[in-house]
Symmetry: C2
């Protein structure tokens, strides 16, 4: 097991009817900016619940934070916060709204001339004073409700940068499964795939005798395998299924299963390119890239792939190569069973795009994977495998 | 799944050679009391490592905190802290030293006349100002290094009280597996059994569709089953085995697996009586009581017992009663395989003691278990089953 440090101070407030409790978590007298996205919270009653809970606070609303939250949008929010002397933020939404709110929290008191430096000069961010914030989660997927990271896009520059700050955890996050009952199927599918691959990026590398972390990761994977198809099959949302999905997503990327183990993240980095070039949903890109990646990287990932196959899919017979084949197939079949296509050709993407991506990675000198052995040429092989 | 709240702000600093890092965690200029137990830290080098790390701080040492930390001892420490204006505590030891240090932390600024009230008038403890503290763990077992609870004994009154305060989490805990390399076998066995039963008290109740929590609990149990006998078999301690044992103990009682589920704790309450009356080690009492308890309570615990049997012991065939029998036997055999006897008669304890305990519970009106259905009469049946 590798050495590690772990601290996660976010308070989870979980369950039916818990949105009302945000009033006890935000300091009395706070001037609150409530952030949200495209407005689904107006249709499902969440907006009304949050506003009722905030009735004793001065609240400025800021809606319209996009999927892949846009820098220009967030900068507008920052200016409003400064004008209105906002001292608490409340994100109501999914990963994009929460990520965007993390940027706002870091930017309000940022002393530099350009807020873009928060993303591109992160070495200067140590000790940055952030504004406290909480969240009300409406879309389980990214784990942003219990971590200190965020990904911000700037379409003008065609850039998408992650950043994280140790003091930028949500102070609290309300997870009410009923707040997710009106999610469209496409977002549920993306959330399930995203969560599954988050776990995989931290689990499917090479063994370091991290038995507890392996069991926790496998526990989340097994749960997603059990509940994923069932969540999608239901006409009427089931409370416990949604509750377990929410916990899967939160614990899948809150740092817990990453303690003391190597991490990969190559599937995410390759997938980001497919989103940038073709606008594919993030979850879709992972469903395409991940099975192909473990197929191509099977030599390096062999031990953990066999362990995953045995513990999650009960794949125990056949030669080693047969079992590895079965592991790739079971993973691909799982994504397909959720209704997401897993081949580039399903999306009209071919060798031109593969060439563009490998060239981009070559120019940047990118080396991905837990060993840094996923070279641009390897990325080409992975994407060809995914055709 | 039940509603829950979860927050755990302790920073884990894990790995070989990490004790030196306590110097970065304690505020510069702090006046530190370093607490410890019977002095094993002088023999295994931990004392020297801690003192070297603390070289730039003013340090007062307070040793001699007993197993089942004694109120009178801790009160002496509190007086020294007040005289010396101590503003940071560092516990170096196992659960007893850490528990005792939690009491000291709560007592230094306690405004009441009697410190005993911290334990017996806990309703007054809300908002109590505690002194910050960190820990260096030398004995994995209680999970106290990452929770806010403690158990304090007062031998004069033959009392033993638990208390917990939401602001009494360690600020940091250093978990260096090599710090546990010199532990005697008896303490390792007790730690393994204690951890196993901690998990069980939170897991083996009745199903509430808490799939993630179940998988995490089962993951810790599976790990203990794998590593327990192996840890004891080794002549030379193995780093990764100890690392996984430490994580099992920490995550076994840091609140994580308790979220959204019912809890039992009857085995602990019955076991406490055996310690009080006969001085049995806490771990030993659990190894005696727990198998008998699940045997007697099989009707109420049936669903989770069958799940536990299948997932941890691969018990899948036979009638329901046969499988429940096999579950009890597998659990008892596991404890025996660690070298701990699981029958009251192995310790010369008989029906007189059973009568004494049931009478005590009758006088107190005690009702134990996740349903409150473990009545004094039931306790008698459990202890008779354990004869």
């Amino acid at each position: 097991m590798n050495n590690f440090e772990f601290k996660n101070p976010t308070k989870l407030i979980f369950g039916r009817g818990q949105i009302v409790r945000i009033a006890d978590e935000i300091p009395v007298g706070s001037r609150v900016m409530m952030t949200y996205g495209g407005g689904s919270i107006f249709k499902n009653g969440i907006y009304d619940q949050v506003k009722a809970a905030l009735k004793d606070f001065q609240v400025v609303e800021f809606g319209g934070i996009e999927a892949n939250p846009e820098y220009d949008t967030l900068v507008r929010a920052v200016h409003i916060c400064r004008e209105q002397q906002i001292d608490y933020l409340l994100a109501v939404g999914g990963g994009s709204v929460i990520d965007g709110t993390k940027f706002i929290a870091a930017a309000i008191h940022y002393p530099g001339a350009s807020l873009w430096d928060i993303l591109v000069r992160q070495e200067n961010n140590r000790g940055l004073q952030t504004v406290p914030f909480g969240t009300v989660l409406t879309l389980p997927a990214t784990g942003s409700e219990m971590n200190c990271g965020a990904v911000i896009s700037r379409r003008e520059l065609k850039e998408k940068f992650p950043f994280s700050l140790p003091n930028n955890y949500p102070q609290f996050s309300v997870l009410d499964p009923t707040a997710c009952f009106s999610l469209p199927k496409r977002q549920l599918v993306n959330g399930i795939v995203d969560t599954f691959v988050h776990v995989m990026e931290q689990y499917l590398t090479y063994p370091v005798n991290a038995m507890i972390q392996d069991r926790f990761s496998e526990g989340i994977l097994q749960t997603l395998v059990e509940i994923g198809p069932e969540i999608l099959r239901r006409q009427t949302p089931d409370y416990d299924l949604m509750a377990n999905f929410m916990l899967s997503a939160t614990f899948g990327l809150n740092g817990l299963i990453a303690i003391g183990v190597p991490e990969d993240w190559a599937s995410h980095m390759i997938g980001h390119e497919l989103t940038a070039l073709h606008g594919l949903d993030h979850g879709v890109t992972l469903a395409v890239v991940f099975p192909a990646l473990i197929d191509v990287m099977r030599a390096e990932k062999k031990e953990k792939m066999l362990q995953y196959g045995e513990r999650v899919w009960n794949i125990t017979s056949g030669s080693e190569d047969e079992r590895l084949d079965a592991v790739v197939k079971a993973t691909r079949d799982f994504f397909e069973s959720l209704g997401v296509k897993t081949r580039l050709s399903d999306y009209g993407i071919g060798t031109d795009t593969i060439r563009t991506i490998t060239e981009r990675f070559t120019q940047r000198g990118t080396r991905l994977g837990e060993h840094g052995t996923v070279l641009p040429e390897t990325v080409g092989r992975i994407l060809n495998n995914a055709l």
